[in-house]
Structures are given as structure tokens and as C-alpha cells.
């Protein structure tokens, strides 16, 4: 039970300044990245007209998201397609990682979910500036009346907080429930149903929700 509050960290000194890094989170992220790169290589190494199972899975994913992003963003779709799909697969595989013994979800760390939320926020706002221009972009914060400016800014910042904490809370909550249940049954019985529910079902749903919300934020931001 104490495992849930323990964070293994690396403390390194960079330019005379102490830097703290969450070791498990980074290691698990690299595992996810290695797995995804391995999948990418396996799916595209020998492209065939009649695809094998790995190529078919890759094609299904790429084609499904390409259509989804293009339907949402129209002609701007291809520009954001790789970002949205990368976001989805990274969070998806990160969430699934907890189902494998001795591995943990990188999305259980707020650093991961927060930076993904911030990246989505930055992309959406940069896109808005590119689509509308600075004047129109800034003017929308003063709508419908001037005094709404602080509320509009808070509303935008709240998006980052909500999207990041939603993912973090779901994955962390699932891990805590699995740990508590495992502890209660004295580890005699593995709770595979809980693992499957939180890891697979909630993990998939949350990854999709995160990607779709980011896509929606971009879509709203670039609308004239």
C-alpha cells in the first residue's frame, strides 16, 4: 500500500542546479515509446497490398484518425493529424501499460498529463493566431463585453487543468482501487477484471477523450 505514495526519483545537477526527475515515469515513457516505434517498424517494414495483422491494425488506426481529423478540421486536418494521433497512441499505450506486471502507467504522473495538456493548449492557441491574426485572436477574449476578459482567460486556462487532471485522476484512481483491492484480498487473488476494466476500458476511453478534446479545442480555436 505504501507503494502508491512512493516516487522513485533521480536527482541530477545541471549547471550547478539540482534537477529532480521521476525515474519510473520516464522509464515507463521510454518503454511506451520503444513499443510504439517497434510497432511502427513492424507495421510498415514490408508494406503489402493485402496487409498482415500488424499492418492492418496500423492502417485501421491511421485511416480512422485521418478521417476523424479531416472531418473535424476540414482542409486543415492533415496539418494536425500526426499530432492528434501521436497524442492518442501515446496515452493509450501508457494507460495499457499498467496491465503488464511490474510496469506502471506514465499517465499516473501529473507531469505527463499536464505537459500533454499544455502542448494541446499551445497548439490550439498558436493555430488560432495563425488562422485569425493577432487582433481577432485577442479580441475574442473581450467578448461579449470588456469585463469578461479575466473570465475568458481563466476559462482557457481551466481547459488545460481539466483535461490534464481528468486523465491523471482516472488512471491514478484506477491504480489506487486495484492496489486497495489487491491488498484487501492479501494478494491471494489477482483482480484481473479490475485490471482489464481500468487498464483497457477506462484507459482506452480516456485516451480517446483526451485526443478528441484536444482536437475540439483546436477546431474551436481555428474557426473564423
Amino acid at each position: 500500500m505504501e507503494d502508491i505514495t512512493r516516487i522513485s526519483q533521480w536527482v541530477v545537477t545541471v549547471a550547478g542546479r539540482s534537477v529532480t526527475l521521476n525515474a519510473t515515469t520516464l522509464l515507463m515513457s521510454w518503454v511506451v515509446m520503444a513499443g510504439l516505434v517497434g510497432f511502427a517498424v513492424a507495421a510498415t517494414r514490408w508494406p503489402r497490398a493485402v496487409p498482415g495483422p500488424v499492418q492492418a491494425a496500423g492502417e485501421l488506426l491511421v485511416e480512422g484518425f485521418r478521417d476523424l481529423v479531416n472531418d473535424t478540421l476540414g482542409k486543415l486536418g492533415p496539418r494536425y493529424f500526426s499530432f492528434i494521433l501521436s497524442l492518442f497512441v501515446f496515452i493509450l499505450v501508457s494507460n495499457w501499460l499498467g496491465m503488464i506486471p511490474f510496469l506502471e502507467e506514465p499517465t499516473k504522473d501529473l507531469n505527463t498529463t499536464l505537459i500533454l495538456g499544455i502542448v494541446g493548449f499551445v497548439v490550439a492557441h498558436v493555430s488560432a493566431v495563425r488562422a485569425k491574426g493577432w487582433k481577432a485572436y485577442l479580441a475574442q477574449y473581450f467578448q461579449p463585453v470588456f469585463i469578461m476578459f479575466p473570465l475568458n482567460v481563466i476559462g482557457e486556462l481551466a481547459k488545460v487543468v481539466s483535461i490534464s487532471f481528468r486523465l491523471y485522476g482516472n488512471i491514478m484512481g484506477g491504480s489506487i482501487i486495484i492496489l486497495v483491492v489487491s491488498d484487501l484480498v492479501r494478494q491471494l487473488v489477482l483482480p484481473p477484471v479490475l485490471q482489464a476494466f481500468f487498464g483497457f476500458f477506462i484507459g482506452t476511453v480516456q485516451a480517446f477523450v483526451f485526443a478528441m478534446l484536444t482536437l475540439t479545442y483546436i477546431s474551436v480555436a481555428v474557426q473564423e
Binding site: I7, N22, S29, V37, T44, G58, S82, L87, L110, I115
Partner: protein
């Protein structure tokens, strides 16, 4: 584990690196394969549609020719029937005329023979009657 630290920056680098790698290794090659397949499928679909249209035209042409042949066959059959009917009529009429002529000839011959037979009979009857009368009278008549 709400402990925001420099891990955030490393995770940013990790994500950007992953996005770059996936774009190079997975998304672009996959999109290329999908586009190629779509082009190939589209080309084959168009070729199939073209062949389908050609087949339709050939079928329509065939149907038209079949229809024309049927009409022609009907016309020839009707013509043949009409001519055969006329021929039959002519043959029947000729046969009837021939039969009539034969009957008339036969009738004339029978009448002639009957007349001859009657003359012979009359002559024989006279001779017989003369003979009987001579015998009864006992003298020459």
C-alpha cells in the same frame, strides 16, 4: 504523486520525439500505402466501370440485333406461309380442274360405251325376235 518537477520538460521532449518518430516511421508510410491502394482501387474501379459500360453497350447491341433478327424471321416466315398458301391453293385448283376434266372424259366415254352397248343390244334383240318369229310362224319373216 502530485509533484510537478523537471520531468515535465523531459516528457515534452519525449512526446515531441515520439511524434517525430511516429510521423516518419508509421503515419507517412501508412498514408502513402493507403493513398496508393486508393489510387489503385480507384483506377481498377474506373476500368471496371468502363468495361461494364462496354459490356452494357455490347449487350444492348446484341439485344437490338436479336430483336431485328426476330422481326426479320417473322417477316420471312409470314412470307413463306403466304407463298406456300398461294402455292397450295394453286395446286388444289389445278388438281380440281384435272379431276373435273378426267371425270368429264370418263363420263363421255361411259356414255359412248353405253350407247354402243345399247345399239348392240338392240341389234341382238331384233335378231333374236326375228328368229323367234320365224320359228313360231314356220316361215321366213
Amino acid at each position: 504523486m502530485i509533484n510537478i518537477n523537471e520531468t515535465l520538460i523531459i516528457q515534452l521532449v519525449n512526446f515531441l520525439l515520439l511524434m517525430f518518430l511516429l510521423n516518419r516511421l508509421l503515419f507517412k508510410p501508412m498514408l502513402r500505402v493507403l493513398d496508393e491502394r486508393r489510387e489503385r482501387t480507384e483506377g481498377r474501379r474506373q476500368a471496371a466501370e468502363q468495361r461494364d459500360a462496354q459490356a452494357e453497350a455490347v449487350w444492348a447491341d446484341y439485344q437490338e440485333k436479336i430483336q431485328q433478327a426476330r422481326v426479320e424471321a417473322d417477316r420471312i416466315r409470314s412470307d413463306l406461309i403466304r407463298r406456300a398458301e398461294a402455292e397450295r391453293q394453286k395446286i388444289v385448283e389445278a388438281a380440281a380442274a384435272e379431276a373435273e376434266k378426267n371425270v368429264a372424259q370418263l363420263r363421255a366415254r361411259i356414255q359412248a360405251e353405253a350407247r354402243d352397248a345399247l345399239a348392240v343390244l338392240e341389234k341382238d334383240a331384233r335378231a333374236l325376235a326375228g328368229g323367234i318369229a320365224e320359228r313360231i310362224l314356220g316361215r321366213s319373216v
